[in-house]
């Protein structure tokens, strides 16, 4: 009896103590994270809701007039009345489809090369990473100059090799591939993430293939690629999101030209909002972009179950 009463008492004290501790933890937890939570509400959640509302108005910030017009902006978008909408959508899709596989495949193989135990590996890594830290404006200046049709280095090199030259950023057909090319220079960030993934693959796995007498290809096919699928997955998602939002390059390299052939979606959005000051309509554009990116992300997530391999998970 005495013992059980005692235990009951101490359990109560412990419970009281622990709930006091819990409350203290909750208080300090919220205190430390308050700026981040507030930031989320002020700079993400609030603006998102505001943007959804704005997309239902014909808000003009400089004239300061607003009227609620329901779904009119969206009707105008999809009815085909605004042919630049479809044009910019098509341009952006083309860019994404061209750029995402190029970025993933090239950075994957660059990472494999940089992971080899070659002489001067550190210097190679630095050289390949370096362009990715160059400000977009400066990188664009450099590429404008390299791709100059008359005096640029690229056409000079093509001439020297007796190959046909290109109009690069000034050709209607070549402008998008050219912009993809300029962004490939800044591939270093993606390469480094692949490198980090590669360094996490245990060496013993490869040794097992050595023992089995397998070669280079079977290592790539049976170890490197499956082990890197989580990294490939992450890089693919981030590259898709980034590619849909390309802006600085479009703004500086081409201003959407020639003949609107590089009118990227976010550039068109910026132009609508800040040059034509139609912020309601631009908000509708923003929501369309948001939903497209969501669909792509969800799609990649859904398919990931069949191809992304997580270690420790039963197959």
């Amino acid at each position: 009896m005495e013992i059980s009463a005692n235990t009951g008492k101490s359990v109560k004290t412990v419970a009281r103590k622990s709930s006091k501790r819990e409350r203290k933890a909750l208080f300090y937890g919220l205190l430390f994270t308050a700026p981040a939570i507030l930031g989320f509400i002020i700079y993400t959640l609030g603006p998102m809701i505001a943007s959804l509302y704005l997309s239902l108005t014909d808000y003009n910030v400089f004239k300061d007039t607003t009227s609620f017009i329901g779904l009119d902006n969206y009707v105008k978008l999809f009815s085909g009345e605004d042919d630049l909408f479809y044009k910019s959508l098509g341009t952006t899709f083309y860019f994404v489809i061209l750029r995402v596989p190029a970025v993933i495949i090239i950075s994957f193989f660059l990472a494999i090369l940089l992971n080899m135990n070659v002489k001067g590996r550190a210097i190679f890594r630095t050289i390949i990473y370096l362009p990715s830290i160059v400000p977009a404006v400066a990188a664009s200046m450099i590429w404008l100059w390299l791709m100059n049709p008359d005096l640029g280095l690229l056409n000079m090199a093509l001439n020297w090799l007796h190959l046909p030259t290109s109009n690069w950023l000034f050709g209607e057909g070549s402008v998008i591939p050219s912009i993809v090319l300029t962004t490939l220079w800044g591939i270093g960030g993606t390469v480094i993430i692949f490198l980090a993934g590669l360094s996490g693959i245990p060496k013993s796995y490869y040794e097992a293939i050595d023992v089995d007498g397998g070669g280079w290809y079977s290592k790539l096919r049976h170890i490197t690629v499956p082990m890197l699928t989580p990294t490939i997955f992450f890089n693919t998602i981030m590259t898709i999101i980034g590619s849909f939002q390309v802006f600085s390059e479009a703004y500086i390299l081409t201003q959407g030209g020639p003949n609107n052939k590089s009118l990227f979606f976010v550039f068109y959005l910026w132009r609508t909002a800040f040059r034509d000051t139609e912020m309601g309509y631009a908000s509708a554009l923003a929501w369309v972009l948001f939903i497209i990116i969501m669909i792509f992300t969800v799609f990649v997530f859904k398919t990931s179950k069949s191809w992304v391999h997580y270690e420790g998970e039963k197959q």
């Binding site: 933890a25 300090y28 937890g29 205190l31 430390f32 994270t33 700026p35 981040a36 939570i37 930031g39 989320f40 002020i42 993400t44 609030g46 603006p47 505001a50 943007s51 704005l54 910030v61 090369l113 070659v118 002489k119 001067g120 190679f124 050289i127 390949i128 370096l130 830290i133 160059v134 400000p135 977009a136 404006v137 400066a138 200046m141 450099i142 590429w143 404008l144 390299l146 280095l153 220079w185 480094i192 993430i193 980090a196 590669l198 360094s199 996490g200 060496k203 050595d210 280079w216 890197l228 992450f234 600085s248 703004y251 959005l269 909002a273 908000s283 923003a286 948001f290 990116i293 270690e311």
Partner: protein, 276 residues
């Protein structure tokens, strides 16, 4: 793992070719920046300028007030750096070292904002700052850094904090320390390298930002280097020598910061736990 000689040679050769391709734009930038126009137009192209025209830098940086742009950029970058380092370390502490109800759910919700395209929040944020009377000031570019400092940074620091044994905190709490003391005396000193990584990424992102200044700044006197360079291109678009000199001046600080903090970069990516 054994790597055959042949394979290493093939790898080395491929890397040599790829590196050459990556470095040529830099060389072309540098050589064009110290040539005058007549040298630039010589065919076939010269790689080593004869003579060097270093006065290009002086001219390029004075025809447009690059000194002012430089100062503006420094003010913004410094403000953003301070805000990001302080607020992301505090938030990461709250999301990793204190166990509170609902913590992981709140963290997951906040993380979802990383997937959100910036275009969606762009217009309302602009309207908000304009209504508050802060259009054409540095505030819209600096203040948000003090509210969390970006989810990517919080995520990175949280990963790092979680790898530090919790026993330290427990012992300190028993000794009567409070959470602020644990944050300041234990976590911050232990996470120096992670904080440097965050600072480096933040510096580069802020220095390179183009869209933010483009939208929020109107007067030339408040322009940043990125905006100034773009404006310079607008008025001197055929002056490739001056344009390349100005570009070199904008690129140089970034490259220097990178080379100094280089060893932390790979470490930083490894910290995020993005290994297979």
């Amino acid at each position: 793992m054994r790597e055959s000689r042949l394979k290493l040679t093939a790898g080395f050769t491929s890397l040599l070719i790829v590196s050459a391709m990556f470095i040529v734009p830099f060389l072309w930038l540098l050589r064009s920046s110290v040539m005058d126009l007549s040298q630039i137009f010589i065919m076939p192209p010269q790689w080593i300028p004869k003579p060097f025209h270093f006065e290009n830098f002086k001219e390029a940086l004075t025809v447009v007030p690059f000194g002012t742009f430089f100062k503006n950029t420094l003010i913004i970058v410094a403000g953003v750096l301070l805000g990001t380092v302080v607020s992301s370390t505090i938030a990461a502490f709250g999301f990793s070292r204190i166990k509170w109800k609902g913590r992981d759910m709140v963290f997951a919700i906040l993380m979802s904002s990383m997937m959100l395209p910036g275009a969606v929040t762009l217009i309302p944020s602009f309207i908000g700052w304009k209504e508050l009377g802060f259009y054409d000031t540095f505030y819209p570019l600096i203040v948000p850094a003090y509210f969390g400092g970006g989810m990517f940074n919080i995520f990175l620091l949280r990963q790092f904090y979680m790898s530090i044994p919790q026993d330290f905190d427990e012992a300190a709490l028993v000794d009567g320390a409070n959470y602020f003391q644990i944050y300041w005396r234990i976590l911050l000193p232990l996470s120096r390298s992670a904080v440097i990584v965050v600072a480096l990424f933040t510096f580069l992102a802020s220095w390179n930002d183009f869209m933010g200044p483009l939208i929020y700044l109107k007067s030339d006197s408040r322009f940043t280097l990125a905006l100034g360079l773009q404006m310079f291109q607008g008025s001197y678009n055929a002056q490739w020598d001056l344009l390349m000199a100005a570009s070199t001046a904008v690129v140089l600080p970034c490259v220097l910061v990178f080379l100094i903090g280089q060893r932390f970069f790979l470490e930083g990516i490894t910290l995020t736990g993005l290994k297979g």
